[in-house]
């Protein structure tokens, strides 16, 4: 028709062409080993599918960018529907069941997912254009972020509480959710150190390890129960937080990050090499499981005692313990969150935030920087200790391998991407960074790719983190409703 459309088409064709050239060796060709000889096979349907998706995706994006509503909306919805359709076909096994006619059109899970997600994004963008047509951008009133976040938080918490009761929730989902909640709790603990006090701690996993090993050793050596060990492990981790905090009091920013990174590795290497005490790389096995108010989750209770299923008169089901574990970490996470939200409004919490903003100004107001920093280290470490105890009791086994630097890195990523200091941001980031990769384990090869892509996108669009809104901890008058 007219030139902008022609330009869009040319642009989309160009992008698709470049993508085709780049993608051909990666997607179009497949090197497999049959016996000993490597053979080269082709995957033309996948390749063609990728190029087509890129062509229409680009077309949709450029149309949406130029403010069109209808065309990109239709394109986006079509892409999303196509992607979803092929996902369904693949999931239900229609593709593999011999009715080969479908098979040619199913270009693989990853591509379908990308097409589906991209289609939804384009349709969303276009839908906004469509609604905004004829309206001035200035008409948009700023959203009451505080209120919205509160409701989002309540909704997330409610969802988390109801999750195990929802239909269609299987063991695997509860397992993943438990893992995510562990990271949410760790993220909230680290948020005190990094988000509130502004101390970039790259060795947070050390305190997690201290908590896990404290519980493991106390449980195996003395046979103490989980509920006795939990506070002890938290206290020990807090003590380590203070011990490791002391030497780094004068460091800030990058220097602090490097030293804490070193401390994290030191703890792990000590655990690895102090064989007499920690059993070294073999780890500690047979760690006690927590009981439900004294009722163990055993299939066959010991003579004269009751276990959970006999007491409640239900059939033994191993999923009971999984659900109990889920609620246990949920409760621990809620405690962490409630504590953080409360302490933020206390003088110490405000001093942490002030310390993050300007340490020199803090000193000039009589805030003792040493005590303030150490308290942040200690309290952050304490929650890592609690989470570590939970980790040990959930796994029944700990070894130094679980406490590598990558864990610290993921935790810092969760806090930073979530938006420093934002509790809900941390929870959302934990779901995105831990939950999604864990749930989509089949897409293993693409996991890290998607992880990196997500990081780049967040850096481009939300450089301050997903949620950067900050509510003042105190107001002269009640917040406007």
């Amino acid at each position: 028709m007219n030139s902008p459309h022609a330009a869009s088409l040319r642009d989309a064709a160009l992008v698709a062409g470049i993508a085709g050239i780049l993608a051909f060796p990666f997607v179009g060709l497949l090197l497999t080993t049959e016996g000993t000889a490597p053979t080269l096979s082709t995957r033309f349907p996948e390749f063609a599918g990728a190029v087509v998706v890129i062509f229409f995706g680009r077309l949709g994006i450029s149309a949406a960018r130029r403010g069109h509503g209808l065309l990109p909306l239709v394109l986006g919805l079509a892409m999303a529907a196509g992607g979803a359709f092929s996902l369904v076909v693949e999931a239900t096994g229609l593709g593999a069941s011999g009715t080969a006619i479908w098979h040619a059109f199913v270009p693989g899970t990853f591509l379908s997912t990308v097409a589906c997600a991209g289609g939804i994004a384009i349709a969303g963008l276009a839908g906004r254009n469509y609604l905004m047509q004829g309206r001035q951008p200035a008409e948009r009133t700023p959203l009451p972020m505080g209120q919205l976040l509160l409701w989002l938080g309540i909704a997330l918490a409610g969802f988390a509480i109801l999750l195990p009761l929802l239909p269609g929730v299987d063991r695997r989902l509860i397992d993943v959710a438990t893992l995510v909640l562990t990271y949410v709790m760790l993220g909230w603990g680290l948020n005190i150190v990094v988000g509130l006090a502004g101390l970039l701690d790259l060795g947070y996993v050390a305190f997690y390890a201290v908590g896990a090993y404290s519980y493991a050793l106390l449980s195996v050596t003395f046979g103490w129960s989980f509920w006795v060990c939990l506070p002890v492990a938290g206290a020990l981790a807090a003590l380590f937080g203070i011990l490791l905090g002391f030497p780094v009091l004068r460091l800030r920013g990058d220097y602090l990050a490097i030293v804490t990174l070193g401390f994290g590795e030191m703890i792990r290497i000590i655990l690895l090499n102090w064989y007499d005490f920690t059993n070294g790389p073999d780890g500690i096995t047979n760690i006690g499981r927590p009981s439900f108010f004294g009722l163990p989750f055993a299939s066959k209770p010991e003579q004269g005692t009751e276990s959970f299923h006999t007491f409640f008169g239900v059939a033994y089901d191993p999923v009971h313990r999984l659900i109990f574990m889920y609620y246990l970490i949920l409760a621990l996470a809620f405690v962490t969150n409630a504590f953080t939200l409360r302490i933020r409004r206390l003088p110490i919490g405000r001093a942490w935030e002030a310390l993050r903003e300007d340490e020199i100004a803090c000193r000039s107001l009589g805030v003792n920087p040493r005590n303030t920093k150490l308290s942040a280290f200690a309290i952050g470490a304490m929650f890592a200790g609690f989470a570590g105890s939970f980790f040990a009791t959930r796994q029944g086994f700990v070894s130094p391998e679980s406490f590598t630097f990558i864990e610290s890195a993921i935790l810092v990523a969760i806090v930073v991407l979530g938006g420093m200091g934002s509790q809900i941001g941390v929870a959302v980031a934990a779901i995105i960074l831990v939950g999604l990769p864990e749930y989509f384990r089949e897409l293993q090869e693409y996991r890290m790719l998607a992880f990196g892509m997500g990081m780049v996108l967040i850096m481009l669009w939300r450089p301050g983190g997903l949620l950067t809104h900050r509510e003042p901890t105190i107001r002269t008058r009640p917040a406007p409703a």
Binding site: R342, E357, R363, I474
Partner: protein, 279 residues
Amino acid sequence: MNPPTLLSVEHLTMRFGGLIAVDDVSFSVEQGAIHALIGPNGAGKTTVFNCLTGFYKPTVGRITLHSPESRTPFLLEQMDDYRIVREAKVVRTFQNIRTFPKMSVLENLMVAQHNHLMRASGWTFLGLIGAPSFRHAEAESVERAEYWIGRTGLAEYADTEAGALPYGEQRRLEIARAMCCDPVLLCLDEPAAGLNPSETEELSELIGYIRDHHHISVLLIEHDMSMVMGVSDHIVVLDYGQKIAEGAPETVRNDPAVVQAYLGSDDEDEAGESEDTTS
């Protein structure tokens, strides 16, 4: 006859390697008076401030504070910066503004009352359980903060992020915040820098109000001569780290050494090297 001495600085010397930033300076500050410390750029004014408030440890010298709230004098040169604020109650502001930009104005003023509130919150434990005594103390602190918010004309910004405030308001916020620390001596480092004449006028009034109604001594570094001459009771002039003159504004204004320091030699200009960045 003279009012009692609040602060006495004796033989204060500060060396940075081979550079002598402050060279054997002695002066004193009277209770309930406004003293000004003036001098060309690089004269060592901010260095004196940094020594007074514990940010630097002086090479030589004694700084004694005879606080009306304490029987024994404080030897400031031996105290850490935050203890000087907490115990001796000498509070400073900064030449380059140092607010907590992401915190609201009220929060800024609450941080200034940190030590008082920490005690009231039972080192956080009473605060966590929401003890009534803590709530009461917190409400009092908010009241005090609101008083200074009103006094410095920041009422409409009370719940705004400090970083979003206009420049002049940020300067006043720093003074309000310092006042919330309940000082006996308030040290203002170029509070009028970057303010327009009417804002400077308001600032002079504020400083006078602080002296007259709260009986707090003020030590002031300032370049705006009309303001210094108008507001000060006593002026100390530094040049090249040495005290070259001292006295009432009239005396200092006509002192030949001062005139020479400001106008005399040709190697000094406004854009010269400054100690400003050292604060």
